[in-house]
């Protein structure tokens, strides 16, 4: 079965072709009849293959040479190992559930078939990203998911904000991708190959030339991993390239769940884990990865505490959780990072889909200040959402607790006490804003449009099923895969794919640390409950009392404004200058000047072109007669 790995991305691709050709004219409201089975078959094959990988088989399959140019050779090939398997299962399983959910959520949208084309195309690209056996094919998937992200953020393209958000996502990702590409160039010039197996074999056998100080006193492998990490910053929305993700919430909610929470944004974490043999040779990069991760985790969590758009809160929560994954990877606990990636895919997809069900019930309302009291009319949504929020907050024994605690534990035992403290503070805020989000949405009185209140309806079956399955997953996945901590199933499974974790530098009692993070989460939940359930007028008083801090958070630290003033607008002014000052006057001027010169030089000769056909015919005839006369008589 494992040699049929190409079937996994092939099914969604077939879905793209069928829906792309016949979706608009023929399938229309039945587009899901193609797209959902495509995702389902993909998951089924992935599951069968995963069983073989669990039994110990791996595969490095070369299908055919893709690019051959002298020494530069890149195949289309798949690498099926534990790491790829975890990613493949996460992507296909969550993807399938969100496809099913979309049947209900997107029902009646004029772009229904187009939506499923993009979703299937995304599944295909994401699977190519995680299954590729070389960096260039991974980059193909990397760009493919970026394209789908752009298309789906701007899915409602009549809305200016949506297309703007799509453009922003695309442009910010270009910055990161430029770094990624430079990293690939450097990797190729250093190792002469882009295939994982060969690169890692070389790194393991001959680390000396890689780790010796090279450019600027920094080793080549550090440069490579740094450049690759710039790509990960863009794709996985880390400081300072995170700005596109909150705006990406303009897309339909299933898209936010699939692309901007569960799968695509975790591609950077996957890439770092996949390149762990390289990263482990570059301690400075690892320090940077861990620091950026911890800072992002806290930074985004603070913003999430005051936002009032339900999707924006979850988006900042996603950025924060991605920060934890990078913190895990950065301190060498790659397996814990990937574990958090998998559990996060469950509970964050659940939160987004729950938010989608709320928005669906309220006819597009996303403002938390106009919600409240939805627990009674939307029972199923409320309880599944509560499970997701608790899992995200790190409540024992839900999924998020196991993975987040492992990351914090690894940060502590490797001696990164500062980063651990940042992560712990982030964990407190996470618990706080998740409680706030749940209370504002589902508890208290209904503050929205009374007209909506009368016909509130819970999620239809196609939307309820994914909620239930994901809620179940959020409960069991963590303990099932993560117990006992550090040595759980997921660790044993992933060990062959990843570089070994560094030796613990400090000593710490796992129980004590776990108790501490549980206590912190409990404090966050307590604070949230008090402020948003008991003393509901206190938050406003606090906001008024600490107005400057509140406004700073409300405006998201003015990062967008700073980027606009310091980067985007100077660049645009430079472009405008180059356009008017250089392109129009110098380049166009030169071209026009040449034309004018020719015109001046030819004013007499051009009289020959009379424009009268008769003159032309006559000259052709005269020429023919002369030529014939020469041939006949001239010899």
């Amino acid at each position: 079965m494992i040699q049929y790995i190409w079937l996994v991305p092939a099914f969604p691709l077939v879905g793209v072709v069928i829906n792309g050709l016949f979706g608009r004219s023929y399938l229309r409201e039945r587009a899901h009849l193609v797209a959902v089975p495509a995702a389902g078959l993909s998951f089924l094959v992935a599951l069968l293959i995963a069983l073989e990988v669990v039994a110990g088989r791996t595969l490095d399959l070369h299908l055919y040479p893709w690019i051959v140019a002298g020494h530069f050779q890149v195949p289309i090939g798949f690498l099926v190992d534990p790491l790829a398997t975890v990613m493949m299962l996460t992507v296909t399983f969550v993807g399938l559930l969100i496809h099913i959910y979309s049947i209900g959520y997107m029902h009646g949208d004029p772009g229904y078939p187009r939506f499923f084309v993009y979703m299937n195309l995304f599944m295909f690209s994401m699977l190519m990203l995680v299954l590729a056996n070389n960096y260039l094919l991974m980059f193909l998937g990397w760009e493919g998911v970026g394209l789908c992200s752009y298309l789906l953020i701007g899915f409602w393209y009549e809305k200016k904000t949506a297309t703007d958000a799509g453009n922003k996502a695309f442009l910010v990702n270009r910055v990161g991708d430029a770094g990624f590409l430079l990293g690939l160039f450097l990797l190729w010039t250093t190792c002469g190959t882009l295939q994982y197996a060969e690169v890692f074999a070389r790194a393991a056998a001959l680390p000396a030339p890689l780790t010796a100080p090279a450019v600027g006193g920094v080793s080549l492998v550090t440069w490579i991993t740094l450049l690759l990490f710039i790509g990960a910053m863009g794709k996985s929305a880390q400081l300072p390239l995170y700005v596109w993700l909150p705006d990406a919430m303009e897309g339909p909610t299933p898209v936010s769940a699939l692309i901007h929470a569960a799968t695509m944004v975790t591609a950077g974490v996957y890439m770092v884990a996949r390149s762990s043999p390289l990263y482990s040779l570059a301690p400075p990069t690892l320090e940077l990865v861990a620091t950026i991760g911890a800072l992002t985790a806290l930074f985004a969590a603070t913003i999430a505490c005051v936002q009032t758009d339900i999707k924006r809160v979850i988006a900042y929560s996603t950025i924060s959780q991605l920060g934890y994954m990078f913190l895990g990877a950065g301190v060498g606990a790659y397996a814990s990072g990937i574990f958090h990636l998998a559990t996060h895919a469950f509970f964050k997809a659940l939160l987004f889909l729950g938010a989608g069900a709320v928005i669906h019930a309220l006819h597009g309302e996303q403002d938390l200040q106009r919600m409240g009291g939805l627990r009674r009319p939307l029972k199923l949504t409320a309880y599944t959402f509560l499970i997701g929020a608790a899992a995200n907050a790190g409540v024992f024994p839900l999924a998020g607790f196991w993975s987040k605690d492992e990351i914090l534990f690894a940060a502590f035992t490797t001696g990164h006490y500062g980063l651990w403290a940042l992560g712990l503070a982030g964990a407190f805020l996470t618990a706080f804003y998740m409680t706030r989000l749940y209370c504002l949405t589902f508890e208290g009185p209904f503050r929205g449009d009374p007209a909506h209140a009368r016909h509130l309806h819970d999620a239809p079956p196609s939307m309820a099923l994914p909620l239930l399955v994901l809620a179940l997953g959020s409960v069991v996945v963590g303990g099932l895969l993560g117990y006992p901590p550090e040595h759980g199933l997921v660790h044993q499974f992933l060990a062959p794919s990843l570089a070994a974790a560094p030796e613990a530098a400090g000593h710490a009692s796992a129980g004590l640390l776990a108790g501490l993070s549980l206590g912190v989460a409990g404090a966050g939940i307590g604070a949230g409950t008090l402020l948003y359930l008991r003393w509901r007028d206190v938050p406003e008083l606090l906001a008024a009392r600490f107005q400057r801090a509140y406004r700073l958070l409300w405006h998201q630290y003015y990062v967008d404004e700073v980027y606009w003033d310091w980067i985007a607008s100077p660049l645009m002014r430079l472009s405008a200058f180059l356009w008017r000052g250089f392109d129009v006057t110098i380049v166009d001027g030169a071209v026009d000047g040449v034309a004018r010169l020719l015109e001046l030089g030819s004013w007499r000769v051009r009289r020959l072109q009379t424009g009268v056909v008769f003159n032309y015919v006559l000259s052709i005839l005269a020429g023919a007669v002369l030529l014939l006369g020469y041939l006949v008589l001239g010899r």
Binding site: S602, V605, R606, R607, L608, Q609, T610, G611, V612, V613, F614, V617, L618, L621
Partner: protein, 100 residues
């Protein structure tokens, strides 16, 4: 048997008619037909020579000329239609964008 000169005479006559047509008429379609006439006048002399010299070369050439002529008709008619759509005329005197 019809002598060779008779064929060549007819061929030369047809060719001359074509030349005069191209030179004097103003309608692009008529000019086009005159060109076809010239091509077929040449074809006639080719087959005549092929017949009298007992060689198939001339006939082969005729096939080539016919093929090229067919292709030329397709392209030429398309151009004439495009000109008519733009200029509302097929009178070649009125189409003189390239006049210097």
């Amino acid at each position: 048997m019809v002598p060779l000169w008779a064929y060549l005479f007819l061929s030369a006559f047809l060719f001359a008619v074509g030349v005069v047509g191209v030179a004097t008429r103003r309608n692009a379609l008529v000019i086009f037909m005159s060109i076809e006439l010239m091509l077929n006048a040449v074809n006639l002399s080719f087959v005549a020579f092929a017949r009298f010299l007992h060689s198939l070369d001339g006939q082969v050439f005729v096939f080539f000329v016919m093929t090229v002529a067919a292709a030329e008709v397709a392209v030429g008619l398309a151009i004439i239609i495009a000109i008519f759509r733009n200029a509302e005329t097929v009178n070649v005197d009125e189409v003189h964008l390239l006049k210097g």
